[in-house]
Amino acid sequence: MIEVENLVKTFGDVTAVDGISFRVRKGEIFGFLGPNGAGKTTTINILVGLSLPTSGTVRIAGLDVTKHPIEIRKRIGIAAQDAYFDHHLNIEDNLFYHGLLYGLPRRELKRRVDTALRWSNLERYRNKKFHQLSGGMQRRLIVARAMLSDPEILLLDEPTTGLDPQTRRQVWKFIKDLKVAGKTVLLTTHYMEEADLLCDRIAIIDHGRIIACGTPDELKKMQAKNIVVDIKLRREIAGNQIERELNGIPGVSYVKIEDSRIRIGVAEEATVEAVLRSVITTNGICELNIVRPTLDDVFLHLTGKEIR
């Protein structure tokens, strides 16, 4: 459904997207996982024609984005990261005038606006302005607006950023419903849990490059040969010294320290003993777990850093 080959986008000296290639299949939820500034939104903007590629090709439903932007936009609904709503109009009017841009007949459009409000559970708020809605309602409305034209493909750019955990789960349910409705979804996120829970396949992107791509399980299996040692210490520690010490042990791929907790990726079992010796001699161990790698560990291993 979406085919991207060697896509490059530069802004002056800055390379925002650096030769990425990926394919999104019909009916799947494909996740773009990466930190802020990784190139996710730039890629979305190129897909929808808001930005032009420096080089490479992007085809959606077999059509080149640079040659057939109008045909492609008819097939795409975009839920942007920022809320672009007219602050003077109520949400019903906002939806109506957005739908009008798609050339929908008025009667049909009014029916679809009603459906979108019902689907997003916002019928009671149709006369409210966008800024009068809660964060979760706003996100649902943004996705509902993207659905107005009944597109085959939905581009959801950071759909749950800034939401509390409970509201985030509501939006996840909402996104799962899109898959049930047969939509192809390209989702960008910097939340590991979100990507793991929602996506059929994930591309991990950093500094404009895709560094791994696969199903969540495939990505975790890439780490399967690695062991993750999760240790809770008796007291909080100053990170730098122990981090240096652990990183100096051969076979340690990454170290993540948070308060009194240390998470260490190691390449082989033999290394675990060296790690434990190092930690025990200077700090008491309160709790020890050898765990399966999560997507967080995959990202840490591949990039050497956490997503923030």
Binding site: F11, V48, G49, L50, S51, L52, I70, E71, R73, K74, I76, I78, A80, D82, Y84, F85, D86, H87, H88, L89, D93, Y97, H98, L100, L101, Y102, G103
Partner: protein, 254 residues
Amino acid sequence: MSLRLIKAVLAVWEREMYEYLINLHINALRLAIEPLLFIFIFGMGLGRRVVIGDVDYLYFLAPGILFMVVVNNSYMTISMRLMIARDWDKTLITALSAPVKPFEIILGYVLAGITQALAACTIFLVLMIYFLGIPFGSVSRVLLLIIATAAFFSSLGVMIAVVLDNPHHLMVITSIVVLPMSFFCGIFIPVSDLPGWSQPIIEAIPLTVAVESARAFALGSGNPGIWQSLAYIMAFTIAVFIAALYLFKRKLII
């Protein structure tokens, strides 16, 4: 012209008109006070002591103020609306992600500027003709001049709003370009009273052509040739529209 193009242009136009209508009380107040103040203070107050040629100043002034109404309702409104759509509520990004071309978006805004200028000028003309008895000659010819001038200033509004990155600069441009244009293009004083070196420049500005043509029709002083005037203004309009389109694409599709 395809059906899709017409629908896209009308969608942009209708949205702008809806926004204009729900704020009509504010728009009407803003747009009515300034021209009426000029008519009452300069035309009926100070103007009683002034005669231009053998014409009462009020009769001289009214066609000029009519085109001040055009500028206020096209350039001022459209440049401000477009800047809000681009920088504040960012609905321009939403429009660009829909199946609508930049050309169609700009045309929708220009049509909205023409419609708003026509509506305001119609009210102004009714007030002038029926309440103050000021002649305007052939109303249909004046309306054609209003449409052409509004198209020019709406396109200019789009161009300026696209070029500027800071909303405060819009006020500056209005103060140093548009406001002086209103004063020097024959609205308040005849161009022939301005310094000789400036007259060819002032005469070349489309606003001057519109004001002098409308005044000639109103006062019955000569026959400026409506089609020549319209063609002249439309040539400028097309040039500014093309420039606005080029800049719009360059700034917004990066």
